[in-house]
Amino acid sequence: MVVPVSYYLALSVALFALGVIGVLIRRNVLVILMCIEMMLNAVNLAFIGFADYFKAVDGQMFVFFVMTVAAAEVAVGLALIVAIFRNRATVYVDEFNILKW
């Protein structure tokens, strides 16, 4: 029994939605970054589902590149969080108002 591509898409949409909810309602910047990772993962899942459906490896190539970008993004993002924490001693996004005058 092969899993239909629509199941992959449904799971992908659900995971993406969870990530969106997390980014919008959480205040801890670390959790927000984790939710962004979860959204990237959901997109990867859609790519993999289509790659399996069309029997083409190109989709898996894109997942490979998305993962590279995600790794780079996390490294820079966490460095930013550490830098901000050193300045403001907080990880809550509503207290990061240094860009406001």
Binding site: M1, V2, V5, S6, Y7, Y8, L9, L11, V13, L15, A17, L18, G19, V20, I21, G22, L24, I25, R27, N28, L30, V31, L33, M34, E37, M38, N41, N44, I48, G49, A51, D52, Y53, F54, K55, V57, Q60, M61, V63, F64, F65, M67, T68, V69, A70, A71, A72, E73, V74, A75, V76, L78, A79, V82, A83, F85, R86, V91, Y92, D94
Partner: protein, 165 residues
């Protein structure tokens, strides 16, 4: 096979929910590792063995270790404190926006008319076909990726350095 998919999808959704709704970031990070493992299992079901291995090594291994390291470095012992002013509007607005996103995504997915799937071409295994494509058609993006990683390394070091002179 569908039963395995449903089990893994259930695990992924439940742990995803736990990531979002746990108050302590450390627990969120640990649940996210379980989530990544479940998604890696789904990749295996979709005949993407190489990507599943990379998912476990890079996401569940490297990226989450980085997260846990930073959480412990910042020493966030207490769970998320109450906001100084009410954030009810933010929560309600966030959920409404998320619901709209979901509806938009579902609408987009429903619009698609898929051509019928193909039978698997014989021959190459998953890793071998990825490698062949990576070093022929996708050679330039692959090389650009290395530059991206270099930039990320330099950027992270510069940002995390305590004093810039």
């Amino acid at each position: 096979m569908q039963i395995i998919f449903f089990i893994l999808a259930g695990v992924a959704l439940v742990t995803g929910g736990l990531v979002v709704f746990q108050r302590h970031p450390l627990r969120s990070a640990l649940w996210l590792i379980v989530n990544f493992f479940a998604v890696a299992g789904i990749y295996l079901l979709a005949h993407a063995e190489f990507i599943a291995a990379i998912q476990v090594i890079v996401y569940a291994g490297a990226i989450m270790v980085l997260f846990l390291f930073v959480i412990m470095l910042l020493n966030l012992r207490e769970p998320e404190a109450e906001a100084k002013f009410m954030h009810l509007g933010q929560k309600v607005g966030g959920i409404i926006l998320a619901v709209f996103t979901v509806l938009l995504l579902i609408y987009g997915v429903m619009q698609v008319v898929l051509p019928p799937g193909k039978a698997a071409p014989p021959g190459l295994g998953n890793t071998e076909s990825i490698a062949r494509l990576l070093f022929t058609d996708y050679l330039l993006p692959f090389e650009v990726t290395s530059v991206l990683l270099l930039v990320a390394i330099v950027g992270a070091v510069v940002l995390a350095k305590s004093k810039l002179k």
